[in-house]
Each structure stands twice: as structure tokens, then as C-alpha cells.
């Protein structure tokens, strides 16, 4: 059964359309990441689910009940702000017991629930501390505990790691996720960090300019992107603009700038159609000889950057187009190319995705990031 369901939700702010006809259904206990660039409407989406904003059109269901017009306090959807919004004038205990106290439970129950939840996030000993005395990670745990104690069924996380430093972020991701999963909470987590989304989510929703671009598991999103935007936003790729000039049952040949031709397996595009070819950087290899059955293009290495366990090369082809290639450094046999070396760039036709040429131009699709 779906816990949260949005049907055709639209929201405008004056002339700006923040969300356009969003349809989304999230299962009970599911961890969903909403991924998108700044201004995509991510926060608006969360605020609408929380009841802090009302949509202009469309319906919202929580636990099967329509909640349009229901105030935030009756939705059991706890919103966690980027800086956690722990009440600065209350200590940890008072913050965590806020929900139970507001709901006027009897004092015995308030005490039990609060201490239980505090133990769960391992902050029982800091119950008298004030928020400004806690580290970022602790504050996040208090915010989570506060939500759980308030009887949250749905957790809305707005860039939950945005206020933390980079190293801490990676550790806390898995910690937060396992705490949440233990509680069986339905979670909607908004972020612009694709790595974070792929790492923690059961399902990823790519949002762009108020529209859902693609929904799928992290693997689906990465391995089978449905649009140029999805491919460049998650993982990134090389893009070539070209025209189909030959097509048969085994594939097509596409001519790109400078008269170079690239063979692809895709057969859905017609001859003469303008298309975009996309190849992931790790699918491009460099070598000194041509590889059989591959596309082989001649180029000169213009830049080489060491990125942890791999090297990222930028190669300028004969037609002045640059190609990036990420090559894993494996023991022994991997050869390192120097700047100025002439190399052969190879990639297999099966790794080439072919998209229709976008109406607004290729750069617009990639630069929105």
C-alpha cells in the first residue's frame, strides 16, 4: 500500500511554476530520494507533503486519506530542516519530548517514550545539553529522535547533510539510513548530491524544473537513464551532437562534427534525424591500437587528472571535440598516457546511447546542473 501519494500536484509562485503535475506514489517504509538541481522544486514538494504549503492543483494522500487542507500537525509527517531547527531555548530532553508534551500524553508515558527514543539514538547522557553544545551529527540525531517521539510515520529530510562537513557527511549517511530503516519510517529525502542519493535511496526520483524526469532504483537510474539530463546529472557522460546517415537491422551510423562517424546499436532513429550520442566516461578506453568491433577515433591527450583509484583523461579528437575517459588503475598492466601523446579512443557501439536532439539545444540540457 502506498503511504504517500501525489496526484497531479501543481504549485505556482506568481509566474513561476514550481511543480507541474507531479504524480508519485511512495510505499510504506520506503526510502525515496528526490534528486535535482537547485530550483527544481524539491523543497516545494516536501513542504506540500508536510502541509506547510497547499498545492494549487492536485491531491495528496497520506496513508490512503486525502490530506489537502489538513494542517501540518495532523499529518504525522515530520519535516527535518537542513540545520535541524532544534529549538534553541530548550535542552535535548525538552526538544525530544516536544511532540508528546504537545499531544498531552500523561507524564509517565512522556518520560518513557522520550528516554527510550534518546537511548535509541545513543544520546541518553546528553539529555540536559542545549542544541548549541552538540556537534552537527548529534544535533541530527536529536532531530531524528524528536521526530520519532512525535509519532512520525513519514520523515521529510531537506538536504539533511547540507550543514555538515564533507567527511562527516559520508559516515552519517549510512548511520541515519539504518536508524530510519530500523524504525520502518517512510522517508522522503531531498538532495542535490547524486552520490548521496544513489547511496542511500531505495528509489530515486529525478526532479527537474518542477517535473519528474525519471523514477527508478539507483541501478536503473545509473544504468538506464531516460534522458540526456538524467544521464549528465547522475554520473555524467560525453555527449556528441550528430546526424543519422545510415541505418540497418544491426544498428546505425551517425556522423558527428568534422565528418567522423560513430557506429551505434540503436535502430530507432530515422536517417537524416538529428541526434545526441552519449557515452559514460568509464566506457571510453584509450590505447595505441584500434580495437575490433569498436568505434576508434584518433586524438591527442590534453589533460590527465588523478582521481583516487582512477585517472581521468581529456582527449581532443581530430574534429576539435573533447572526450573524457576514466580509466581504472589496475595493478601492473595499466599504462599511463602523458599530455601531448597521440592515442586511439575506443568505445563499443553497445555502450552508446542515442537520444533525440533536444528542442532547446544540447547545452541547455547539460548546463542546467
Amino acid at each position: 500500500m502506498s503511504m504517500v501519494k501525489l496526484v497531479n500536484v501543481t504549485k505556482r509562485f506568481g509566474k513561476i511554476v514550481a511543480l507541474r503535475g507531479i504524480n508519485l506514489s511512495i510505499g510504506d517504509g520506503e526510502y525515496v530520494c528526490v534528486l535535482g538541481p537547485t530550483g527544481a522544486g524539491k523543497t516545494t514538494l516536501l513542504r506540500i507533503i508536510a502541509g506547510l504549503l497547499e498545492p494549487d492543483e492536485g491531491e495528496i494522500y497520506i496513508g490512503g486519506k486525502k490530506v489537502n487542507g489538513v494542517p501540518p500537525e495532523r499529518r504525522s509527517a515530520v519535516y527535518m530542516f537542513q540545520n535541524f531547527a532544534l529549538f534553541p531555548h530548550m535542552n535535548v530532553w525538552e526538544n525530544v519530548s516536544f511532540g508528546p508534551v504537545i499531544k498531552e500524553w500523561d507524564s509517565e508515558k512522556i518520560r518513557n517514550v522520550t528516554s527510550e527514543v534518546l537511548e535509541m539514538v545513543r544520546l541518553g547522557e546528553r539529555r540536559d545539553a542545549y542544541p548549541n553544545e552538540l556537534s552537527g551529527g548529534m544535533q541530527q540525531r536529536v532531530a531524528l529522535a524528536r521526530g520519532i517521539a512525535a509519532g512520525a510515520r513519514i520523515l521529510l529530510l531537506d538536504e539533511p547533510f547540507g550543514a555538515l562537513d564533507a567527511r562527516l557527511r559520508v559516515n552519517l549517511r549510512t548511520q541515519l539510513r539504518s536508524l530510519i530503516k530500523d524504525q520502518g519510517l517512510t522517508t522522503i529525502h531531498v538532495t542535490h548530491d547524486q552520490e548521496e542519493a544513489l547511496m542511500v535511496a531505495d528509489r530515486v526520483v529525478i526532479l527537474r524544473e518542477g517535473r519528474i524526469e525519471q523514477i527508478g532504483s539507483p541501478q536503473e537510474i545509473y544504468n538506464n537513464p531516460q534522458s540526456i539530463f538524467a544521464m549528465s546529472f547522475v554520473g555524467g557522460a560525453n555527449f556528441f551532437d550528430g546526424v543519422v546517415y545510415k541505418s540497418d537491422s544491426s544498428g546505425s551510423t551517425i556522423e558527428i562534427r568534422g565528418g567522423l562517424s560513430i557506429r551505434v546499436l540503436d535502430t530507432t532513429k530515422k536517417i537524416g534525424e538529428r541526434v545526441v550520442i552519449a557515452i559514460r566516461r568509464e566506457d571510453v578506453s584509450l590505447g595505441k591500437s584500434r580495437r575490433r568491433g569498436f568505434n576508434n577515433l584518433l586524438g591527442e591527450v590534453v589533460d590527465a587528472m588523478f582521481v583516487g583509484g582512477s585517472i581521468e583523461y581529456v582527449v581532443k579528437l581530430e574534429n576539435d571535440v573533447s572526450v573524457s575517459s576514466r580509466i581504472l588503475l589496475e595493478g601492473g598492466d595499466s599504462r599511463i598516457f602523458r599530455r601531448g601523446e597521440i592515442v586511439i579512443v575506443s568505445f563499443h557501439p553497445s555502450e552508446c546511447r542515442v537520444f533525440q536532439y533536444p528542442e532547446r539545444g544540447l547545452l541547455k540540457e547539460i548546463e542546467a546542473i
Binding site: 501540518p72 530542516f81 529549538f87 516536544f98
Partner: protein
């Protein structure tokens, strides 16, 4: 559930409506009634001001004369404030030195001391033998009330009092503004090779222009509307606001009302553009013209020279001004009370001593006790009612689209001369208007509410905007708190400091107000008015004692404010 929700919606609308009604009746109506009074009774005004059968348009000539004098005084005061206030504000905002908070308190002091007491202190200091005259071994005071300051043709003592009373507005406003400007801009400019004056001219000055502007507007309005101290030191010259008090007490109501509405209009003409300018200034302000290169080069050379050789002057001169205008008068009053305690030290007469005047036949001590009671009752009740109006109004200002309009309207009672305000309240509630309240303590309370609400609102809004309340409230809502719960458990505790500060500020202001109180008080005398009465009755030792009493009272207030604003 739907029923319940509708109830909640309804009650929140009811709260907003009630607050707005109270706000309009108690604050807005008195502010604007004066203008409509002039329109409604134009015949009377015309007759009295322009076409009196006996004196013709003599009253109109008086109005013009008084207005011109007031403007000359206010403009010179503001110019002086800016020249010496800007460096002082810079030092307070950017430097750390021992005694800094003491200096800040000293600059702020004239805001808290009831102005009639302060005016009296200045009067004693400059014009009597007990003050600077005695210190310099002269036989009389250093000067008389009519000694003119050079160039501007304004009585010197009057000028000094106005500087002391307006200086804090320029310095404190600008100090806050400079503190909000990132110090890295200055550092960048200095590391790029600009000297400190050049950095100021190119970086800090353009960025703090809105602050300079709003400080100047506040100081100008304050000087234009000042009554308490001016009544005491003005001598034969009359400013616009004391002219209103005089005319109102002579029952020349139409002339006073006409002049009062002129002042209200002038205040409007000043703040509206200032409001627009300052709100635009947030988007970045620059100087819209460029200077010729050779002039710039000369300026740079001059600035380098001045920065190197005269930087001490800019630190020391403002300090000297604070000492002369604030510390010396207070010290002189305290000293004189001791000198005059049992008898006049120069003639030896017991009748000229503080004790005789307080407990002798004129029984000023009894007056003092009664006026203390009046003052405290007025201050407590008016501040309490104002706080009750100000809290919901602050929330409305922050949350509703019409908040900006309300906030702009709230600036008006702060900058129109209080004597116009008092006149307006008298005409609105008194026998010639609605006839609901007669002159006396209740009318004083009604008047004080008008300027207390804006004081408290400003203080609450300052606390509100610094605390990210919106987010905390939303967070509370998603945790299960209703809108009312969220305000009660989260918002109010968060802005508690702002409410207390506003309460104390308004209490202090009410305690020290003279101009408006004079017009509406009837037979109920407050302490600052008592000082003026004593001076007019030439009961100098009694006035000395009362001023000391006021100064000590306000020092206590100031320390309470400091405790709250620190915490």
C-alpha cells in the same frame, strides 16, 4: 475535524481583526486625526491663522518664523552629528578596547534620561555659577541662554542640548549598520593598497549609506520634535514643537492644530522617501556618479596624508563631544545637589537649599511623590496595553502582505513631534472631539500608547528577524503542534528578550516624555513636567533634586536594558 478546523481558522482571523482594530483606534487614529481636524474646521483655522480681524495674519507669520528657526536648528544639529558621529560609530563597531561598553552606555544615556532633567542639567552647566562658570573661577555662568553659536545663529545651549539628544540616533544606527557589513571588504581594500580613509570613502561609506541616512532622519525628527529640554533652555527663541505647547496652553487650538499638522506632513515627506531609499539600499547602493581622475588622485593623496597623521583626532574629538555634552552636565547636577543640600552656597540663605524647598512651605517633596506615582502608573498601564497590542501586530507585520504598510505607518508616531501628537489626542478624545476622556491621567496613558506601540514593535521585530522563527514554528507544526501551540511554546519564548527590551524601552520613554504630556495632562503632573514647572517657578534647588532623581532612575533603567539585551 473540518468543523474544528473552521473554528481554528475563524479564531485566528478574529485575533488578527481585533489586533488591527485596537491598533487603528489607539495608534493610527490619533496620529492622523490632527490633519483631518484642520480640514474639518478649516473655517476656524482660516479665521484664526490668516484672517484675524485684529491681528490679521500675525499667527501665520509666527508659524513661518518658528518653522524656519526649527529647521535651521535641526539641520545644523544633524550636520554636526554626522561629522562626528560617523567616526565614533566606526570605532564602536570595529574596534575592541577597554571601556567600550561604558562608552556605548554614555552615548545611549541621553536616550534614556528624561529630556527635561537633561535639559536642566545642561542649563545649569553652561549658564550658572554652579556649572562651568564656577569651575573657571568666573563670577557668573560661562554664557547666557541667548549667547549665539557662531555661523548658524542659534543659541549655543540649545544647540548643545540638541546635539546630545540626537547624537545617539546617528551613532547607534550607524554602528549596527557597520557591524552588519562584512569586515573582509575592508581588509581586501587595505591589502589592495588603499589607506584607511580611502577604504572608508570607497567601501564602507557607500555600503553604510542607508544606515547613515536613516540615522540622520531619526536625528532630524528627534530634534524637530524635542520638547522637554527645549522648553527649559530655549529662552526667548521658540521651536515649532514648543510653540505648539504654548499655543495649546493659550487655547489657540486652531493655530496649534494647523502648525501640528504641518509638522506631521513634513515628517511624512521625510520618512516616505527615506523608507523607499533604505529598502532599495538593501539591494546594493553605490554612488551614481564618478569623479574626474585628477581630482581622485588629489583626494587619494590627501586621504593618505590624513590617515597617516591625523588618525588620532578622529578618535579623540567625538570622545570630547560626548564628555562635554553628556558627562559634564550630569556631573554638575550631581555636584550641585550636594552643594545646595542645606543652603545656597553663595548667599548662605536656607531658603535657597534643597531641603527647605522640598520640605518647606512650597512642599515640593509632596509634589514629587505624587508625580512619581502618576508617572509610574502611566508608564505601567500604557506600556502594558501597548505590549498587548504590539505582540500580535508584530506577528501580523511579519506574516501578512500588508505588514510593510503597517510598519511604515508605525514609523510616523516615532518621528512626529510629540507635542503634535499630544494635541491630536486631546482633540480626538477630548471635549472638542469624541468627548470620551478628559485631560488627566487617562489621556496621558492614551497618548503614551501611541508612541509606545512602535517602540515595542520595533524591538520585537528585531528579535523576530534574528531568530529564524518561521522555521522553528514550521518544525513544531510538523511535530504535532497546532498554530496556537507553536506560537505559545516556540515563538514567544524565542522573542521573549525582544518583548522585555521593548517593554523597558517603552517604560523609560513614557517616564521621560514631556511634550505630549504637557498638553494632555490636565492636573496630573508627571516628573519631567514637574521639572519644567519648577524651573519656570525658579525653584532651582528643587529642580536640581528632581533632575538627579530622574537621572538615577534612568540609570537603573539603562542597566536593566543592558542585562536583557546581553542575555
Amino acid at each position: 475535524m473540518a468543523m474544528e478546523l473552521r473554528m481554528a481558522d475563524f479564531s485566528s482571523k478574529l485575533v488578527v481583526l481585533c489586533s488591527l482594530i485596537a491598533f487603528i483606534i489607539f495608534v493610527i487614529l490619533p496620529t492622523f486625526y490632527l490633519i483631518s481636524y484642520v480640514f474639518l474646521r478649516w473655517d476656524e483655522v482660516w479665521y484664526e491663522v490668516f484672517a484675524n480681524p485684529i491681528i490679521g495674519d500675525e499667527n501665520w507669520k509666527q508659524i513661518i518664523k518658528v518653522l524656519l528657526f526649527s529647521f535651521r536648528l535641526s539641520l545644523s544639529t544633524v550636520a554636526f552629528d554626522l561629522i562626528f558621529g560617523i567616526p565614533l560609530a566606526y570605532v564602536l563597531a570595529r574596534k575592541k578596547f577597554p571601556g567600550k561598553s561604558l562608552l556605548e552606555d554614555l552615548v545611549t544615556l541621553p536616550l534614556v534620561i528624561p529630556t527635561s532633567g537633561f535639559g536642566f542639567a545642561t542649563l545649569i552647566t553652561w549658564t550658572t555659577i554652579a556649572g562651568l562658570g564656577g569651575l573657571l573661577r568666573l563670577r557668573s555662568g560661562l554664557m547666557s541662554l541667548n549667547t549665539m553659536a557662531p555661523f548658524i545663529n542659534i543659541p549655543f545651549v540649545l544647540f548643545i542640548v540638541h546635539i546630545a539628544l540626537t547624537f545617539p540616533y546617528v551613532v547607534r544606527t550607524l554602528e549596527t549598520k557597520i557591524q552588519s557589513i562584512d569586515v573582509t571588504y575592508e581588509i581586501a581594500s587595505r591589502t589592495l593598497g588603499a589607506c584607511s580613509l580611502t577604504t572608508f570613502r570607497n567601501i564602507l561609506f557607500p555600503l553604510s549609506l542607508p544606515g547613515i541616512f536613516s540615522g540622520a532622519v531619526l536625528a532630524f525628527a528627534r530634534s524637530l520634535g524635542e520638547t522637554g529640554a527645549t522648553l527649559i533652555v530655549s529662552g526667548v527663541s521658540a521651536t515649532a514643537s514648543i510653540a505648539i505647547v504654548r499655543w495649546a496652553s493659550e487655547f489657540k487650538l486652531s493655530t496649534a492644530a494647523f502648525m501640528g499638522s504641518l509638522l506631521v506632513l513634513i515628517a511624512w515627506v521625510i520618512i516616505l522617501p527615506a523608507e523607499i531609499y533604505v529598502s532599495r539600499g538593501r539591494r546594493g547602493s553605490g554612488i551614481p556618479f564618478s569623479l574626474p581622475t585628477n581630482l581622485v588622485r588629489k583626494m587619494l593623496r590627501l586621504e593618505r596624508f590624513l590617515s597617516r597623521n591625523f588618525s588620532l583626532i578622529k578618535d579623540v574629538v567625538p570622545l570630547v563631544i560626548v564628555v562635554i555634552t553628556v558627562i559634564i552636565p550630569i556631573a554638575v547636577v550631581l555636584n550641585s545637589v550636594i552643594l545646595y543640600w542645606s543652603a545656597d552656597p553663595y548667599t548662605g540663605k536656607v531658603e535657597g537649599g534643597v531641603m527647605y524647598q522640598l520640605f518647606g512651605p512650597s512642599n515640593y517633596f509632596g509634589h514629587l511623590l505624587r508625580s512619581t506615582l502618576t508617572s509610574i502608573i502611566v508608564a505601567l498601564i500604557s506600556t502594558y496595553i501597548s505590549t498587548c497590542i504590539a505582540i500580535p501586530i508584530s506577528f501580523i507585520i511579519e506574516r501578512r502582505w500588508y505588514g510593510r504598510i503597517i510598519r511604515t505607518m508605525l514609523k510616523v508616531p516615532l518621528i512626529i513631534p510629540t507635542s503634535s501628537l499630544g494635541l491630536s489626542v486631546l482633540l480626538l478624545w477630548g471635549s472638542s472631539g469624541l468627548n470620551l476622556v478628559s485631560s488627566g491621567i487617562w489621556m496621558i496613558i492614551l497618548t503614551h500608547i501611541v508612541f509606545s506601540v512602535p517602540v515595542i514593535v520595533e524591538s520585537i521585530i528585531a528579535a523576530y528577524e534574528g531568530s529564524g522563527i518561521q522555521m522553528y514554528e514550521e518544525s513544531a507544526r510538523t511535530l504535532g503542534a497546532t498554530a496556537y501551540n507553536a506560537i505559545e511554546t516556540v515563538s514567544l519564548p524565542l522573542i521573549k528578550g525582544g518583548i522585555f527590551t521593548g517593554f523597558i524601552l517603552s517604560f523609560t520613554r513614557s517616564l521621560g516624555e514631556t511634550g505630549a504630556t504637557f498638553i494632555v495632562m490636565g492636573r496630573d503632573v508627571t516628573i519631567p513636567v514637574l521639572v519644567v514647572n519648577m524651573v519656570e517657578a525658579l525653584a532651582i534647588p528643587a529642580a536640581l533634586f528632581t533632575s538627579t532623581y530622574l537621572i538615577i532612575l534612568s540609570l537603573v533603567m539603562l542597566s536593566i536594558i543592558r542585562i536583557f539585551t546581553r542575555g
